[in-house]
Symmetry: C2
Subunit: 172 residues, 2 copies
């Protein structure tokens, strides 16, 4: 174990600059604005809220189109009480189904209904067009490349173990 | 007026690539993860939720530390009903005060209390340290420069009128 109290790199010793903090806030604000614009467009185009779409996307990418509610909560990063209320509303609209599993505490099994699958598929193309118009059309290929690099760097920083494994895999 | 049905640029004609959509999703997921990590840290360090911090930040940057609730809702991009419930909870904790203004429909005047100001100031330094550790420490100066350029480009794309004014101002 490293003694973090004594051994500090230049990066951890220096303070964050005002410019860096401003870029952090611009990142948060710009992505929040894009999420708001794309969320409003999604609702107009498809009758789905961003929360609905997020749940349907996670289920559509899950094995067999079903997840335990605890897995779903982790996947979409919501508190379980918020998710439970939202799933109740989606169930009443016929978008998902919940089947109780009393054998363990991972929560009900949540699955896509046919209506939910159809609504999600219908929403996908207009949503992709909106992402293109408000986001992708703005950026050059060089900016996409730089953004890809930045996001991978941030992900490796957030998950250093995974980054190490990936590097090892590549160099075998 | 341009006939958008006939005159389409290469950028608007082509479809978004799978790679671009993946980068969009990585951007949404990475910023969501950073917000979650920094939000949990904020709560541990300061007893403030990200929602509390967002409201206190907007008020602390407003003229005189006060905003109409409609302005506050626009500033932090929340629906007024959600904001109203949250302000009720913050008022009971003594962080903000609401004074009714019956003369117009812009909602109550929301202002920082002394306790709210103190809590916000106490939260700022640990929050900046967390932003540094989880975000800023990951990136090189070149990546910061590229990210700054990308965010400005996206903002100009979202607000073309403002971008035109800024360019004009610079070239006077």
């Amino acid at each position: 174990m490293r003694d973090d109290g004594r051994v500090t790199s230049a990066a951890t010793r220096r303070r964050m600059s005002a410019g860096e903090l401003a870029i952090w806030r611009a990142l948060v604000d710009t992505t929040a604005e894009l999420r708001r614009i794309l969320g409003a467009q999604l609702l107009r185009d498809s009758g789905l809220s961003p929360a609905d779409y997020h749940v349907l996307l996670a289920l559509s990418e899950a094995n067999g189109g079903r997840l335990r509610s605890s897995e779903l909560a982790a996947e979409i990063d919501w508190e379980r009480s918020r998710l439970s209320h939202h799933l109740g509303r989606m169930e009443r609209r016929g978008l998902i189904r919940r089947d109780d599993c009393s054998t363990d505490n991972r929560g009900a099994e949540v699955s896509l209904t046919e209506d939910g699958t159809r609504m999600f598929r219908g929403a996908t193309a207009p949503h992709a067009r909106a992402v293109k118009r408000h986001f992708a059309d703005a950026l050059t290929p060089e900016q996409f490349e730089a953004l890809d690099d930045i996001l991978r760097t941030l992900q490796n920083h957030l998950h250093p173990e995974q980054a190490a494994i990936t590097r090892e895999d590549l160099h075998v």
